[in-house]
Amino acid sequence: MYQKPVLSELPRYRGRQDCGGRRVPGGSATAKGRAAAAAPQLPRARQSRRGPRGPPGPPHPHLHPPTPLLPRSPPPGPGRAAPRRPLPAGSRAVTSRRGPAGHGRHFETPGPPLPPSRGGSSARRLPPAPGRRLPPRPPAPAAPAPRDMAGVAGGGGGNGNDFQWCFSQVKGAIDEDVAEADIISTVEFNYSGDLLATGDKGGRVVIFQREQENKSRPLSRGEYNVYSTFQSHEPEFDYLKSLEIEEKINKIRWLPQQNAAHFLLSTNDKTIKLWKISERDKRAEGYNLKDEDGRLRDPFRITALRVPILKPMDLMVEASPRRIFANAHTYHINSISVNSDHETYLSADDLRINLWHLEITDRSFNIVDIKPANMEELTEVITAAEFHPHHCNVFVYSSSKGTIRLCDMRSSALCDRHSKFFEEPEDPSSRSFFSEIISSISDVKFSHSGRYMMTRDYLSVKVWDLNMENRPVETYQVHEYLRSKLCSLYENDCIFDKFECCWNGSDSAIMTGSYNNFFRMFDRNTRRDITLEASRESSKPRAILKPRKVCTGGKRKKDEISVDSLDFNKKILHTAWHPMENIIAVAATNNLYIFQDKIN
C-alpha cells in the first residue's frame, strides 16, 4: 500500500530565509510574531513576502559575549610604542579591551603592513570586474577643447567664513600596497560629533573618540583616537546560490544617544546589525561565592558575608551585537536610515525598501517595491534612501535614472506611489552615450533643516528644494573636466563609482569627493568652491591645505594638475562633516584624514 508521508513531517524548506547561509528553524507564525506585528503604531504595510520569521536559531557567533577580536597581525612586539599618551587621572582612557596596543586595524601608528584579512579577499574573489582593481590611467591624448569649470573661485580661500582648512590627523598604513580589506567603505560621525565610525571592506568597524580639550595644549582641538574596534560582519556563504556574501560594511548609521552606551547600525549587502558600544570602568570585588580569580568557593566554608565593592579599573570598551536583522533583502543593501522617531529605520536594496523596528528582528515591512513582474522590464533600480530628519513619515529614495521620489507613509501602506517626484529635464545639448549612466544618483542626503536635499550624480551635486520638483535650486559641478573622458571612464568602470556627499552642520556648505584624492567643498552662500587634496605630503600637523586646481586645457599653470595626470585609483567616495564644528573626515582608500579649520 502506498503510504503518503504526512506534510507536517517533512523538513521545511525555508526558501530565502536561508539565504544567509544559516538555517533558521522555526515553525509557523508564532505568538511572538503576531504580538510583534501588533506592537508598532506604524501603518500595516504589506508584509514581506517571506512572512514572519521564526524565533532565532542557534546562537550566531556574534551573539556570544564579546570575544576578543581575532588578531589580524601578530601582537606588536616590545619595541612598539604604546599608541596612547598618558592622560591625567580621572579622564577617560580609551584603551580597548584587547590591551594597550589593540589588535585589528592599526590606526594609531603606521605599523607593519597587515596580512590580508582572514577572508583572503584577493584569494577567494572571483574574476574581478574588468579594470576594477587597477584601472589603467587613460593615456594622454590631445587635450580636448577646454570647458569652463563652473564655479571655480579664484585663488585660495576656504568657505564663506574665510577660514582655511588644516590637516589634523591621518589614520592608517602608509604602505603603497593596500590590503583590500583595509579599504574604508563608510565614514560617519555620531550626533554629537564625539565619535567617528569607519567601516571597511574586511567587515570591521573602527570607532574613534574625540579627546577632551586639553588645557595645556589649547591649539590642538580634541584629536580623534581609537575607541573601539570590532568585527561587525563576516563573509557568509549562500549555499543555495553558491554565492559569497561580502562582509564589506556598506553603511554605518548612529542612533541618537539615550544612555551611557552608544548604538549604531552597520550593514553589509544582506544583514544589518545593531551594535552596542559600552564602557566599563569599574569592577566589583569581594564576591562571596567567588574567589578573586573567579574560582567558586565552597559555600560551606563561608563564615562571613560581605558586600562587594566597586573598584575602578582600566577602561574597557566593549562592542556587542544586540540585534541582527537578516534575511529580508534579496538584493544588495545600499542604504540604511534611522527615523526621527528613533524607533524605526529603513533599509534599501536595489529594488525594495523595508521598514524595521529596532526591537524586532524577525519581521520587517516592505514599503517600496519596484521590482517588475518580469525582470526583463527592469530599467531602474533604487540607489539610495533616507528618512526626513524631522517628519517621521517622510522618506526619499533616488534611482539610477536620476530621479528622486519622496514618499509619505501616511498615504498608503505600500509606498510604491510617490508623493513627490523630483527630476530635472535633460539638457538635449549635453546628451551622449553615457547620459543615462552619469545621471544615476549615487547618494541623497537631507539637509539638517529638512527643507532641502542634496543628490550626487557622477559629475555634479544638486541641491533640491523639497517644494520644487521640476528642477534643483542649485547645481555644482564637481569635475566637469571628466565629461570628455567618459568613454575611458566607462571602459575602466570608474563611471560606476558611487560618490557620497554631505552637508555641514549649518547647511551652508556641502562636500563631496573626486579622483586623485581630491575632494571639493561648495559654499552655498558665497558660491565659492575649493578643491583640496588628502595626501601625506600635506600632512604636517596644522598645515594649511593648499587649494588644488585641475587644468582643463591650454597651458598648464604651475601647481595645476592636468586631467590626464589624475590618478583614478585614488578616489574619495566617503566623506563626513562634524555635525556642529568644522571638522571633516575624508576616507582615501585605506587612510582616514581628519581636517579642521584653523582657528583665526
Binding site: K241, D350, C487
Partner: protein, 224 residues
C-alpha cells in the same frame, strides 16, 4: 581605441565619419561588460541595468538613422532567478547583427552569426536556437524561456543522486525542479512551500487536491 572615441569630438566631419564606429566601439564595450558580468558569480544589478538602458537608447537613436545604419539586435534575456532568489539579476546577452537590408523577422539559426568576428566567441548557441522568430528590434525585450538556458542539460541527470521519492508526490513544485519561466514570477515558487505565509494556505489546498488525484493514480499503478 581611445583615439577613435575622442575623434568624434574634434569636428563634425570627423564625427559623421567616425560616428558609426564610435558607437560600435561603445556597444562592443557594453557587450563585453555584460558578458563579463555574466561570468561573475554575482552580477551587479545596478550596472547591468545601466548598461542595458544605454544600449537600448543607442538603438533607439540609430533607428532614426538611415537604413544602412540599422543595427538589428536580438536581445535575449536569461533570467537567472531561481527559487531561493538570494540574488537575482538580469543577464542579457546582446547580439549585434549588422544587416544592410531592411529589418525582417529575425529567424536565428546556428549559422546566423553576428558580423563582428571578435564577438563570435561571446555568443551562446543555445540561446540563439530558442528565439522563436519574433521580430527582434532592439526596442523590445525578448521574453525568453529561461529554461532554454538549460535545455541542453538533462535536468534529471543533475539530481540523479538525490532521492526525492519521498517528496515527489507532496509538492506541487518540487524545489529541485529547474527554475520556472519568468512569467510565472519568482515569487510563486515560494508560495507553494508549506511556509508560514498565510497565503500559502490556499496553495496547500490546491496541492492537496492535486495530491489526492495523484494518490488515486498511485494506487492504480501500485495496484493495491
Amino acid at each position: 581605441m581611445l583615439g577613435r572615441g575622442l575623434k568624434r569630438k574634434l569636428s563634425d566631419y570627423e564625427e559623421n565619419m567616425a560616428g558609426l564606429s564610435s558607437r560600435q566601439l561603445v556597444l562592443n564595450m557594453c557587450l563585453t561588460k555584460l558578458q563579463t558580468y555574466k561570468m561573475l558569480v554575482e552580477p551587479n544589478l545596478h550596472r547591468s541595468v545601466l548598461i542595458a538602458n544605454t544600449v537600448q537608447q543607442e538603438s533607439n537613436c540609430c533607428d532614426l538613422r538611415s537604413a544602412e545604419d540599422q543595427i538589428e539586435n536580438s536581445l535575449l534575456i536569461v533570467s537567472d532567478d531561481d527559487m531561493s532568489s538570494a540574488i537575482s539579476s538580469i543577464l542579457k546577452d546582446l547580439d549585434f547583427v549588422e544587416d544592410i537590408s531592411p529589418p525582417t523577422c529575425l529567424v536565428p539559426t546556428g549559422d546566423d552569426q553576428p558580423k563582428f568576428p571578435e564577438n563570435a566567441g561571446l555568443k551562446l548557441e543555445d540561446d540563439r536556437q530558442d528565439l522563436k522568430g519574433a521580430e527582434c528590434v532592439f526596442g523590445s525585450f525578448e521574453i525568453s524561456n529561461s529554461t532554454s538556458y538549460l535545455k541542453d542539460l538533462a535536468i534529471d541527470d543533475i539530481f540523479e543522486d538525490i532521492d526525492t521519492s519521498m517528496y515527489d508526490s507532496d509538492f506541487c513544485c518540487p524545489p529541485l525542479m529547474p527554475p520556472r519561466p519568468p512569467p510565472l514570477a519568482t515569487e510563486e515558487p515560494l508560495k507553494t512551500f508549506p511556509s508560514c505565509n498565510s497565503s500559502s494556505a490556499n496553495n496547500i489546498q490546491i496541492c492537496r487536491t492535486d495530491l489526492s488525484e495523484l494518490d488515486h493514480i498511485m494506487e492504480i499503478l501500485v495496484g493495491s
